[in-house]
Amino acid sequence: METNLKSKAFQEFSNAAETLVNPVLQHWKDQGGKVIGYFCSTVPEEIITAAGLTPFRMRATGSTGTEESDAFYSSINCSFPRHCFNQVLTGDFKFLDGIVCVNSCDHVRRIYDNWKRFVPTDFIEMMSLPRKTGPDQVGWYTDELAMLKDKVGKHFGVEITDDRLWKAIKLHNETRRLQKKLYELRKQEKPPITGAETLAVMVAGTAMPKEQYNEKLRELLDELSGTEGPGSHRARLLIVGGILDDPAYVKVIEDQGGLVVTDSTCFGSRLIWVEVDENASDPVAALAQYYLTDRPSCPRMYGEHDNRAQYVIDMCREFNCDGVIGERLIFCDSWLVEHYMLGQDLKAAGIPMLKLDREYLTSGIGQLRTRVQAFLETMGR
């Protein structure tokens, strides 16, 4: 990705976001380390880390088509699982030692079924994710997580003690803190890092062991602290949506002069804005509480729209945003209606919003440019 950042650490992050297996992950594997893929933000990475494994958030980086997965999915399905499953079928995910799924959405939940039936895999698990986020659901999800922990432990021959879990939680919380520091830098008038660059850093964080990641991130933060960017943007934007893992998409937006200074996305601020409670008595319950309730939710959760809208509005104020871009992958029901409601909420709050439909593979760049440019013009910027 084209960037003005000279940082070596950033270069590594950028490369990690543009590939599936980056050198750090490869090294981990070469040393005998194991990698567990997972779908959706609500799968606790900490359980995987606590088992001595590396969690890997599933994406379809590098996919060029869906010829293989077309036999399993239909044209009215979301392009994200179609590309992911295509790569499963072409063997790009052979590096995984297991996969954990949740019923996040109607499109992705069938990856579990298709994967299980058609691709021999040693370790493939599905957890039951509630639709509500209340105390009863936290109780349910705590049990689900406990069962996952047992299954992972049994299969990989590790006893995942509370100690190991707390250690993992502390490590992942440290990651969140560091990433949040990165976000805080973007509150400046001339942020030293763009939205595209930040996304690369965040994606990289889901693709390598956290210890090494944290080290490199600290390096990057050191390099960026006290610096400022060119400040040549026309407007400060927040981007809200689901699975957005392609910095190139954000770059097209930013090339029009709309600097993305914050977000609410699956690879973005929702992962880091709050931390797992390190003072809780039971680590599994603490994880359930965090992943289900404490974290800003995604629209597949029922009863949370007001909270989600408030989160976006608060973010806009905190980061001094001029407007919001809502992106969704076409055929996504959850984000379609969420953006419909959010548009009205933001209008009431006096914040302009542009809604964009996209496909998983970034294409139609000319059309994207036109819409973003027009949006900036309507904001008078």
Partner: protein
């Protein structure tokens, strides 16, 4: 200020009133099974209007929420999406409703039913409920609809409770959902003042048990070659046990009559169709435009719809010995035996095992996956369906329709596709 919700409900009541009169006075032979279904609908709308006019509490709920409990608590409820559905063309405002839905700034790649429901809410065409018991199973879209309803100007602030669905159907999941049903009862009591008497619930469930038992027997007769039952009143069992005459002895009468009809045919070695040639599984519910397709299938191709998702809700009878067993079994039924939800919820094994069972038991000649545009999980299951059909040696057709909107793929286009399929597969 005219309450549009009341206005529309009155119009629907009048529509069924007219339909009933028309059928009763028609010189042509009308299936004696159809009239009670129309009556059941009419009674429902009459009650709804009466409750609104008398200012009594009225709940918006869904057929998946243990309707037996509502009957036992003497709570009147209506389903916000039922106006769209109204079964096989009974919605005379369908085109207006579709155009209304099109006017919303919501893209049409989400299930049309949900857009229609959003339209009904925003246009004030639904009676304003005292409280809402939602349905957040089986799909993303229905959850999104509920979020939109909660937030809408029209319904904001109306208390809403939705039982949370577990993804699996094992004992732990059933117990969890049973707890949710108990919370639902507390919610209902809070907002209507009605209490649940377990003895009354037992009475109601004993009636629905009998209804389901008869339903099972009818289903078994449908296995006969030739098949004695046709699509015309295919939505009946679902409508009566889960929506209209829940726990009502009148429902029993209907099932007995339907069973008697089928038995008579089977005993005589006859089927609904003379010269039945194709036994078809329509692996979804009936579209609103089915009257434009199903009769043609019967006439043109001698194809009979032996089974569909309206009818495939096999059901373990509810054990009425205690409160615990009743809640447990009602939870199980809601999770596993509700129309269409049964096949969409949870892992693919749920629909897959149904598919295998139906093809074998009902001697199906071809499987049709209508591929309604709103079934995103179903769309992601076609590979699995195809493989199962291949293993079973039965032809499989995926069409691509909109269950609610005949403009998406017109009935003529569907007929064309099906004709080509039958010819290519050497059927009929």
């Amino acid at each position: 200020m005219v309450d549009k919700g009341l206005e529309r409900t009155i119009a629907e009541r009048d529509h069924f009133e007219f339909l009933l009169k028309f059928l009763e006075e028609s010189p042509y032979e009308t299936s004696h099974l159809l009239i009670p279904l129309v009556k059941a609908n009419l009674d429902h709308y009459k009650d709804t209007v009466r409750y609104i006019e008398e200012g009594k509490p009225i709940i918006a709920s869904y057929f998946s929420n243990a309707p037996e409990i509502f009957t036992a608590m003497d709570i009147h409820w209506y389903c916000p999406v039922s106006a769209a559905f109204a079964g096989a063309g009974a919605n005379p405002y369908l085109m207006n409703d579709l155009e209304g839905a099109d006017k919303l700034a919501v893209s049409s790649d989400i299930c049309t039913l949900l857009r229609m429901a959003m339209y009904y809410t925003e246009a004030g065409l639904l009676p304003r409920p005292t409280a809402i018991v939602g349905m957040i199973i089986p799909c993303d879209g229905i959850v999104a609809l509920h979020e939109a309803s909660r937030r809408s100007k029209e319904w904001r602030g109306i208390p809403m409770f939705a039982p949370d669905p577990p993804y699996f159907t094992d004992e732990r999941s059933i117990d969890y959902f049973a707890q949710e049903l108990r919370r639902m009862v507390d919610f209902l009591t809070e907002h209507t003042g009605q209490k649940l008497d377990i003895g009354r619930l037992r009475e109601v469930v004993e009636v629905t048990n009998e209804q389901y038992q008869l339903w099972q027997e009818i289903n078994e007769l449908r296995r006969a070659v030739p098949c004695p039952f046709n699509w015309g009143v295919g939505g009946g069992p679902f409508a009566l046990t889960q929506n209209r005459w829940v726990g009502d002895p009148r429902g029993l009468e209907w099932f007995k009559a339907a069973l008697a009809d089928s038995e008579k045919l089977v005993k005589a070695g006859k089927g609904w169709l003379e010269n039945e040639r194709i036994r078809l599984l329509w692996f979804d519910v009936h579209p609103t435009w089915f009257f434009d397709l199903a009769p043609w299938l019967e006439e043109e191709w001698k194809a009979i719809i032996v089974m569909d998702m309206f009818s495939y809700c096999p059901y373990t009878l509810v054990d009425t010995s205690s409160e615990e067993t009743m809640f447990h079994d009602l939870a199980k039924r809601n999770l596993m035996d509700t129309t269409m939800i049964r096949q969409a919820v949870g892992v693919a094994d749920n629909f897959a095992s149904d598919l295998v069972r139906i093809v074998k038991d009902y001697k199906i000649d071809c499987v049709v996956w209508p591929a309604h545009m709103g079934h995103k999980d179903g769309a992601a299951s076609v590979g699995i369906m195809r493989e199962i059909c291949r293993d079973l040696g039965v032809p499989f057709l995926s069409i691509g329709i909109d269950t609610f909107d005949p403009r998406y793929t017109t009935p003529d286009e569907v007929k064309n596709t099906m004709s080509q399929f039958f010819t290519a597969m050497g059927l009929g």
